[in-house]
């Protein structure tokens, strides 16, 4: 630094962001300063490099299959490694259906829990409940899978599935033989795994609802629930939707637990009690067994499809959350 530079006070004491940063960068000194700056920039750019790298490597790994099958890959339901014919449809179907089941279970429960935590629960009860939900988020996928195989699936097979077939068997969704490992089991375990993120993001959204909203509703004589419905939910609707989409993004890519309970059969069945297969789990199961180049390329293409779907869903979720939550979005969850 060459003496005190005459920086106007407005630039030294900004309320936030850009002004402060530009003043700081201009005031840098010798080579240690510059190299530190460049090093930091390099690290930050790693993020962009990684995104490009991920997309490029998956594309490079799947070129053979893309060339061989073209767009037909996405709509063909034949998956036959023996005769080297590959189609992604059963896996895309399985991924979408299991994620949809998970959302149907997790969104109402997660949003209701978030509402409970921000609007209803006694203050003393809130922190313990939040802690428990955060710890639930810390349980690794493979442990949920283990628990799924030995506890959840046998219970579902002997109780819930029997009940569903007996009372709702008139729907094609709950017909056919009961195996245990099934699309529904996969959906349920994914629901458990995305509950924490949906709950915590919804909670942040709800906390950003101004108290004025609530007070206005109370002043009109609304009950507790009416206040929540009129003042809170309608105000936060967009953000809550964003939380659900973020949960969808996580559900689509969930691998280990699903692989362990979904049954791993590449078939498209109307029944949720039948086994299914997802994009992520077929890669996990068959990658090291891929004997031919085309087989490996087809698996890479499944990865590419999965990446494309999750990136799209995540971009939508982040856009929805950002415009609402003043630019913070949903960070490291």
């Amino acid at each position: 630094m060459t003496g005190p530079s005459p920086v106007p006070p407005a630039q030294l004491l900004p309320d936030h962001g850009s002004a402060r940063r530009s003043s700081v960068v201009r005031s840098e000194g010798g080579w240690p300063d510059r190299s530190f700056h460049w090093l930091a920039l390099l690290a930050a750019l790693t993020i962009l490099a990684l995104i490009v790298l991920v997309g490029w490597e998956l594309y490079r790994g799947s070129r053979l299959a893309i060339h061989q099958f073209g767009a037909g890959f996405l709509v063909s339901s034949e998956w036959d490694p023996v005769s080297d014919v590959y189609g992604a449809l059963p896996f895309i179907f399985g991924t979408l259906v299991s994620s949809l089941i998970a959302l149907l279970i997790a969104v109402p429960l997660g949003v209701a829990t978030a509402l409970f935590l921000t609007e209803m629960a006694p203050i003393r009860l809130r922190q313990p409940v939040i802690t428990v939900i955060e710890l639930l988020a810390a349980v690794p996928s493979v442990i949920f899978g283990l628990w799924g195989i030995f506890v959840l699936v046998p219970w579902l097979r002997d109780h819930l599935f029997q009940w569903l077939r007996t009372y709702l068997g008139f729907l094609p969704l709950f017909r056919g033989p009961i195996y245990g490992p099934s699309m529904l089991a996969g959906g349920i375990i994914v629901a458990v795994m995305i509950l924490p993120i949906i709950t915590s993001v919804s909670r942040e959204i709800l906390r950003s609802v101004p108290n004025l909203q609530r007070e206005a509703a109370y002043a009109l004589g609304a009950t507790h629930w009416e206040t929540i419905r009129i003042a809170v939910i309608s105000y936060a609707r967009r953000g809550l939707f964003g939380a659900a989409v973020l949960g969808l993004g996580r559900a689509l890519g969930e691998t280990m637990a699903v692989t362990m309970v979904i049954g791993n059969r590449p078939e498209i069945s109307a029944s949720l009690l039948a086994p299914g297969y997802t994009l992520a789990s077929v890669v996990a199961n068959e990658f090291t067994e891929a004997t031919s180049d085309l087989y490996l390329n087809a698996l890479f293409e499944l990865g590419l499809v999965l990446l494309a779907i999750t990136i799209l869903v995540n971009v939508i979720a982040q856009l929805m959350l950002r415009t609402l939550a003043g630019g913070s979005g949903a960070k490291a969850h």
Binding site: P14, V24, H37, A44, V139, T223, G253, G329
Partner: protein, 287 residues
Amino acid sequence: MELAAQLSPGGGRQHWRRGLSRGVAVLMGLSALIVMTPLFLVLYFLIRQGASSLDWNFFTQLPKPAGEPGGGMANAIVGTLELLGMAAAIGVPTGVMGGIYLAEYGSATANYWLRFAADVLNGVPSIVWGMVVYALLVVPFKTFSAYAGGAALGLMMVPLVMRTTEEVLVLVPQSYREAGLALGIARWKIITVIVVKTALKGIVTGVLIALARVAGETAPLLFTALGNNFWNHNLGEPIAALPLQIFAYAISPYDDWHRQAWAGALVLMLLILACNLTVRFFSRERR
């Protein structure tokens, strides 16, 4: 019922509205209970099924061949720690420096998009990281290796550490930086000695959270670290990891392996809980 409520005179309608409100409150409380239940169920079964198998052998022995009872997961426990060490070596410097850039340098617009990219990158499925590192490090060197496993976990850590680091750096009062500038201290020294040091606890917290998250990852290791039934003496060769071992044992047909899978899961869970509790301890002190 809605109609009846509408038609009835004021008092009855009030009653119905209050009742509905109370009913919804109960439903919300119930959902919170349902959301919490899986954690308790998982922990209960981990302890019930796993605790009895945790003995000296489990921590000191190598896995036995299929069908033979006994043996342990010593190599997998050490392997997981080695993988985490390598992941930290990649993820922590990159993530922390990136976080410094976001908090201290860069224009608001560029940083907005970098943050956006980091959050999107966070949503990339872990299995995809495994495939990418397979193409990058396994194919060229023609072998699965501990390096590849560590790299896969390390790359996953980068966006996580970056975002948490930035968040705590922004909390450091602006006046600290100004005081440094006024004293004529070089910018990089202000950042490392004053800003980062002030926020160090928060940064460590973020790193621990990221480590706890990748410690349980299985999918990125399946075709990078691969797993190994013996000790790994060379990081250029496949290495065992707890999550991989749990997965392999869980889907095997042997009862004794199932028993050990539970025990391994209990150890992994304790490791992760320890990380989380340390974080809680740190962040409580910070406030």
